[in-house]
Amino acid sequence: MSSDLDTIIDRHRDQPGALLPLLHDIQHAFGYVPPDRIADIAAALNISQAETHGVISFYTDFRTSPPARTVVKLCMAEACQARGAEAAAETLCAGLGLPMGETRADGRVALEPAYCLGLCASGPAALVDERPLARLSGARLEALIAKVQS
């Protein structure tokens, strides 16, 4: 893992404004940004560890611990609200057995709110591990729950 991470850091070392692309690449490869490597990232880009940590904590996407096996991001913005997002959220919370914004104790699934996925005419909508899903009510919602549980 560490040598791969060093390769990623090296790839971005001379890129202007490298921190976000670098963090994305690390997270893509490892699922999260290992906190014990923040010092190396900061050193490579010649910025402080505080600044690096500040960026990681500012953006919702970045995390410093492994993610759940499946991450469901349900859109809770206005257009989906108008199409029943709150009811979909209740069904998902009940079906998956966890509250919105949390990861289940067994680490199998996390349910996070998202604010617009650009599926505003076909809501309720979600991104499930980067895969878009829309018209999430009734059987389609039940199918999602069953798939995540399996």
Binding site: M76, E86, G101, C116, S122
Partner: protein
């Protein structure tokens, strides 16, 4: 020759099963011994028809939709590959009222062509704008864009040509063009559809802008919530590099956001591009003078840059002839929420809100009466039916206490509780505030608290007065539109739907799913 079958591969189609439809069609064709070529086009923009399958036949392109994967075998048995009759058959999709009533200058190719085929692109009018531009001196290109009346379609409506002129005239060797594709406003998706259905058009517009202002590097900053758009842009750049069409004189880099709404604000976006927290910068200096890495920078929205190739190819007049007042050309309006027919509807400025909701959108999908329409994203005002005669135009909406923003129209039926929507506006602002200025960072939190008191029936009149004061402070004192415009949805809800803010009608408790506050814990720090 094999028969071409179009199955959209963009987010709106994939989200309702287009990949499964494509796979089922391939399998059914094989079983039937038919030689077909499946083209993954983008959606044409009528999302209620997705998955929309089109077949190229002797009678032209025949559409079927909405097609569920389970419908495929029946469709193929009925003769889909020959354009035969079926209850889902739509005939010529372009002739449907949703499309025949549009004026598509920017979305002319969306849904028609293979998004990654350069020959398709050129055969349908692509590249003509860039070719015309490169024959002219950069100053002349800017003059044409100015004469067209094109304004920033991200929401601010600033004249595009004037911005370009400022950057060109600004001293400095290095200049940048940055495309703002951080389309975070809820109810908007035109940028996404354009990037997925016709990515070369955005790249062409960006290259023209770079040529005009003297930039050699352009960035496209796309939000991470759009994984398919990111993939599509990267593939489009790859196609162009392989064809030797890009990378020598002017290069383009795709950058991905990380889930911060505020990065749609241009200075926060520049901070993010430079590798920092997406915190808003105080203006001046304007990005046109001192933008990315301290250099003069054009920051334009996707739709603004995508409108440019048409203007160069057909002349400023051809664009300016469309529109109303100071809003020239067309606007790709996005219809969403509780509507029967939602999607991208590109039309000259001037169409009324009522036409959009009742005629084009066909009323609500739920069948309930329309109660409120939020125009312009989460920072836009809620309009009641009595304002449906408002023409879609920057100034007309501003005159009525609203804004068109990025062109999102979100329809709510009569079950909506407007006091809860007002609370949500503050909740969203609290979650997404960058924290740099006090009116936004603290005002939003105080707004949620005060709305909770109103929702619980505590001293309603006094708290509404306090709310008015708070809105004033945020409006006048915030650094950017996030804090500054949050009062729009709040005030419009109070003004147009006062009955929802009277104690007896209020819900007894605050909503259950208040996830926003948990989404971004840093906002509460």
């Amino acid at each position: 020759m094999s028969r071409r079958v179009f199955v959209p591969g963009d987010t709106a189609a994939v989200a309702v099963g287009a990949d499964e439809v494509a796979a089922a069609l391939a399998k059914a064709a094989q079983l039937a011994g038919r030689d077909i070529e499946i083209v993954r086009n983008g959606s044409r923009g009528a999302f209620h028809l997705e998955t929309l399958v089109e077949v190229e036949t002797d009678q032209g392109r025949i559409g079927y939709g909405p097609v569920d994967p389970a419908d495929v075998d029946g469709l193929v048995a009925a003769g889909l590959f020959d354009g035969a009759a079926h209850p889902l058959r739509l005939g010529d999709v372009g002739a449907l009222p949703f499309f025949s009533r549009q004026t598509r200058l920017t979305f002319a190719r969306a849904g028609i062509t293979d998004p990654l085929s350069l020959s398709d692109y050129a055969a349908h009018g692509g590249v003509a704008g860039l070719e015309a531009a490169l024959k002219l001196p950069p100053e002349k290109v800017i003059e044409i864009v100015k004469a067209s009346g094109l304004r920033g379609l991200g929401g601010a409506g600033f004249p595009a040509g004037v911005k370009w002129e400022t950057v060109r005239a600004a001293p400095g060797e290095t200049k940048y063009v940055v495309c703002n594709a951080d389309e975070g406003d809820s109810g908007t998706f035109a940028d996404r559809l354009l990037m997925e259905a016709d990515p070369f058009l955005l790249i062409e517009g960006l290259v023209i802008a770079a040529y005009a202002v003297g930039a050699r590097l352009g960035y496209i900053y796309v939000r991470s919530e759009y994984p398919l758009a990111i993939r599509m842009l990267n593939r489009a750049l790859e196609v162009l590099r392989r064809a030797g069409a890009i990378g020598t004189g002017i290069d383009i880099e795709i950058r991905v956001g990380a889930g911060a709404y505020v990065c749609g604000e241009e200075t926060a976006l520049l901070e993010s591009l430079e590798g920092r927290r997406g915190q808003v910068r105080a203006k001046p200096p304007l990005p046109a003078h001192k933008g990315l890495f301290g250099c003069p920078t054009v920051v334009n929205n996707v739709l603004t840059l995508a409108a440019v190739p048409f203007i160069l190819a057909h002349g400023a007049e051809a664009f300016r002839d469309f529109g109303l007042g100071r809003s020239r050309g067309t606007m790709p309006i996005q219809l969403g929420g509780d509507l029967k027919q939602g999607g991208v509807f590109e039309t000259p400025f001037g169409i009324t809100l009522g036409e959009l909701v009742d005629d084009i959108g066909g009323g609500t999908a739920s069948g309930r009466p329309v109660r409120a329409v939020q125009v312009g994203g989460p920072l836009g005002a809620y309009f009641p039916r009595s304002l449906f005669d408002t023409p879609f135009d920057f100034e007309a909406f501003a005159a009525r206490g609203g804004m068109i923003g990025h062109g999102g129209v979100v329809v709510f039926n009569d079950t909506v509780q407007m006091a809860r929507q007002a609370r949500f506006a503050f909740e969203f602002c609290a979650a997404e505030s960058c924290g740099k200025c006090t009116p936004c960072r603290i005002g939003a939190v105080r707004g949620v608290e005060t709305m909770d008191k109103i929702l619980n029936g505590q001293r309603v009149a006094a708290n509404l007065e306090l709310m008015e004061d708070l809105c004033d402070t945020m409006r006048q004192g915030s650094l950017c539109a996030l804090g500054g415009f949050t009062p729009y949805p709040v005030r419009s809800a109070i003004e147009h739907f006062p009955e929802d803010f009277k104690a007896p009608t209020l819900a007894p408790q605050v909503p259950k799913n208040s996830g926003a506050a948990k989404a971004a814990p840093e906002a509460a720090e």
